[in-house]
Amino acid sequence: MNEGIAGKLAKQFINSKITPLLMVAALLVGIMATFMTPREEEPQIVVPMVDLFIPFPGAPPAEIEARVAKPIERTLTEIPGVDYVYSTSMPDVALVTVRYKVGEDAEKSMVKLWSTLMKNMDKMPQGVQFPLMKKVSIDDVPVLNLTFWSKSRDPYEIRKAAVAVADELKKIKNIGDVEIKGGLKRQIKIVLDKQKLLKYNVSPLQITRQVQMANSQMTSGDFKQMNQEIVVRTGKFLESAADVGNIVVGISGASPVYLRDVASVVDGPEEVNNYNFFGWAAAAPKGSVSGEYPAVTLTVAKRKGGDASLLAEKVIARVAGLRQTVVPSDITVTETRNYGATASEKVMTLLEHLLMAVVAVTIVVGFFLGWRGSLVVLASVPITFALTLLIYYLLDYSLNRVTLFALIFVTGIVVDDSIIIAENIHRHFAMKRQPKLQAAITAINEVGNPTILATFTVIAAVLPMVFVSGLMGPYMSPMPIGASLAMIFSLLVALIATPWLSFRLLKTESGHTEEYDVTKTGYYKVFNTLLSPFIESPFKRWLAFGVVGLMLAGAIALVPLKAVQMKMLPFDNKNEFQVILDMPEGTSLEQTARVAKEVAAYLKTIPEVSSYQYYVGTNAPINFNGLVRHYYLRQKANMADIQVNLVHKGDRQAQSHDIAKRVRPGVQQIALRYHGNAKIVEIPPGPPVMSTLVAEIYGPSQSEQIALASQVKQVFKETPGVVDVDWVVEADQKVYNLVVNKEQAAFRGVSAEQIAQTLRLSLAGMDVGLIHTGNDLDPVTIQVRLPQSDRTSLHDLTGIFVQSQGMGSLTTRLRAGEMIPLSELVKVEEKIQEKSIFHKDLRRVVYVTADVAGATESPVYAMLDMDKKIQKIKLPAGYSINPLYTAAPTSEDKMAMKWDGEWQITFEVFRDLGTAFAVVLVIIYLLIIGWFQSFKTPLIMMIAIPLSLVGIIPGHWLHGAFFTATSMIGMIALAGIMVRNSVLLIDFIQIRRAEGVALKQAVIESAAVRTRPIILTSGAVVIGSIVMLFDPIFQGLAISLIWGGILSTILTLVVVPIVYYMAEKKSDKPSMTNVS
């Protein structure tokens, strides 16, 4: 036998002093890398997404759509790298969202967007204001939320404390954005008194002008005197409410009118614009108070590339230090989110899993090879992982749930190479045909080259997953990269470290000296009795094939029978979920708060809920899901978010998804009582989407789209298992349109702008400047507004006065100064607020959204179910629609519907994984052709691949699990592992045949000799995967590897030798005669 690369390498290192040094060095850098790699919860996924807010005050949605949204969308789609362009044309503003392809460089994308936008700003109509550009990135998601709450303080005071803490926290290195949610800011309120204004003949607009003019200070320059430069500064900024009150705003008779004469100036909290409350629930820690308390949330985000757990620890320590100084003792600070801790926990769980897997594998190996053999394997694993972690660190990966997944995934595979080598050395030592060193090198030579080939088949199996596109791509890519690298390292370890270790640790047992004979081993006897009947009788052979074929068909049949359902990713067991409450548009803040409170009161009683916090009028701190769903825009009065924190998953039986399912009916019932819509939002395990189920409705006109959408919505509602049904169409909201009577206004010396300004000032208030206090951390604005009690009805509005500008307006000869009530100038029209217009890639669209839970957990089945009902919908135009699956309709002339949401990603992932799998098969085929120089042999080896399905699908059925993307990954990886087993088998057959052994004998011998390493390696995969079985996300992978591994190993050991025998039978005959 000539020496291969493996043998040469082993020879170099087996007695080298450098080998142990290399091993120790690898371990050390690995340990360092583990501590230096930043830890975080979510992977760093770069999905450059930019929100553009383009204000066009006064314009209705239709005009915004035509004049602003559409032209901008058109230009934006020209930018290379743009994946989708969405827009929402609302009254007064257009929101255009640009989503770049995953992985596009964020900065470059911003520059491209900026230049394209600037190039086209001249085409915008008059009145369009400068766009606000906001880049949305994963680092905007806060990693730590601290809730400040108090029994005795009000939101204004709590916010003050939170702002002070935020100011201190900003000094921490590597801290990202620190934001404050809820609470009330300090404000100087100029509350106008209508009666007094009338009495002193002062108009509100006059006040704003006077305040703005009074609030000025500037450096005027300098002059020289006596060799000195003296700086001159003029004016004085307003510094207090008293300053503001003392501004002279008009004249009455001969005396000045001060602002305090016509308005009350109040220094204090702004008007209530949000409700943010915190409360402990049923599973609160012992001794917590009941009831709910005003709260303010401080959110801390991290900088790109930072370590979430480190940052969280630092912040918490800093806040604890501030407790004595900045935070009053009656304000409690509670941690309501700590992704740093969860990230650390994930890392710890992984390490625990790894350890368990390694120990389990070691025990199995020990069972076959003795404790010395197991020690060899045990030593090689940490080295492999250490090197892989080093590569992760060097490639700027962070330790997150995806990279960890990759490591767990390869645990069972990386020990294989070492096992094969150690086992063969062990076998050769036991055979005692050669001296120890020679035996070791022969052993390595024998299996070395097939091991190299086998390693590359496994790499070939996992590597094509890099090409999964879309949002799922970055989720997947650490896996093939990590796994491939780990495989290469494990191969190197197996060829360098394992021989060194085996040579020293494995003992040639003394005692029995007889010549080793394979035919005397138990394995041989088993395979002889097992395989001989099939080899000898063609009938039995075909019978066996038939049985295996039937098993395969039966297993596959479980899929269409829905015994095994497909789903992209199952829900993870998280410690939180959210309730998203949408009241009909036009619901008051207090009404929304009331419903939120009632929902919260219900959630409070759920035994697993530890605390809750509801946010009305301001959005709850977002998570990755909320980022993609634009939950940070949820700041309207009719929206509320309830953050529900559960007890730690270790302390409860139920999974978070089951709890979410359980509370859904109760929550929705409460919301429905007030005509609201409540959704239970869980953190999706994979890439977030707008909603699990999304129906995009296209059509020629908005009214037709809405009509069809409402029918589709009805179908959604009637389908069991479809929950949280909603759509984007706003409820009818009453609008009073005050139409200015132009002639009358002109005659009285009042301009339309004056009326509009006065009304805006009266209702929404107008910020007229800042007071310059110097020691407030938040800017303190001065706001002019009517008191709440004077702006509650139409009657109040039309009773507002405007001042005639008299001849100054050039439209009248009347004298200026007359106060005219609006009722004389405007006509009131009652209308319904126009609906927002949505675009996706330039097409008008209406979305109907829903989630699935309960009767069906997989959107695909719900979609197929609803398809039939949707096809039955009769459209006024006389045709019916056929829901589309993969691409938007080509024309908008006809009504059409397309499924989107999780389906889109599922489709992309399974399409890409399917393609990857096909590529894998081709690459494996090519690799083996290259090795065996035969077109036929590779096909025989690849028979093992479909056989894994016999185990995988029924395995899922047994566990009642979904066939998920991770199951698919398991299946692909298994293809590599199974081919490797076949390679080892057939390689040995060929070696034996080359030595002149008869075909049948060679086949049985090979099965007997190779069973042990095959069972050992497959056993390692199976046992290494068992720890994953209890993790909701990795369950699919574990089932695939365990059941697929067991079944296909057994079948491979029987089927592959038989098929090989059949295939080689004809070519064997002549060689037999030659030999004999």
Binding site: D154, P155, P294, E590, Q788, S789, T792, S793
Partner: protein
Amino acid sequence: MKTGIRKSVWLLTIALTLLFGGCGHNELKPVTSGKPELPAAVEHIVPVRSGGGAAGEAEFLLVPKSAIVRRGELTGILVVGADDRLSLRWIRTGRLMQSDVVVLGGLDKGEFIVGTYDPALHEGVTVKKSPRVTEEDHSK
């Protein structure tokens, strides 16, 4: 106690006539007196009334000024729920009308509230309002 009940009946009669008149002024509160065996003796529990609604004027809700709970800038009312438990409801208030305040948001017409806020009362306290005293009962 007895005088309290008699007084309340008397007041209610007036209140009803005024209510039927559709005029929101000078309304008096229908009063239910707390009984001694109640878990919490609440002096009076009143329904949220509506005012306005007359020619061209929009309807609005009224609560007694004494019922308002203030927590800094937040304004609330203790509401008696269907389960007879008190809960604090945040409301938005508008104009004052004599001893009443117009409520702009957060309450429904006919809900029962604690007419006079007592700092001793807090959320979760059970009060007894049954047999629910409706205006019709008292008008007899």
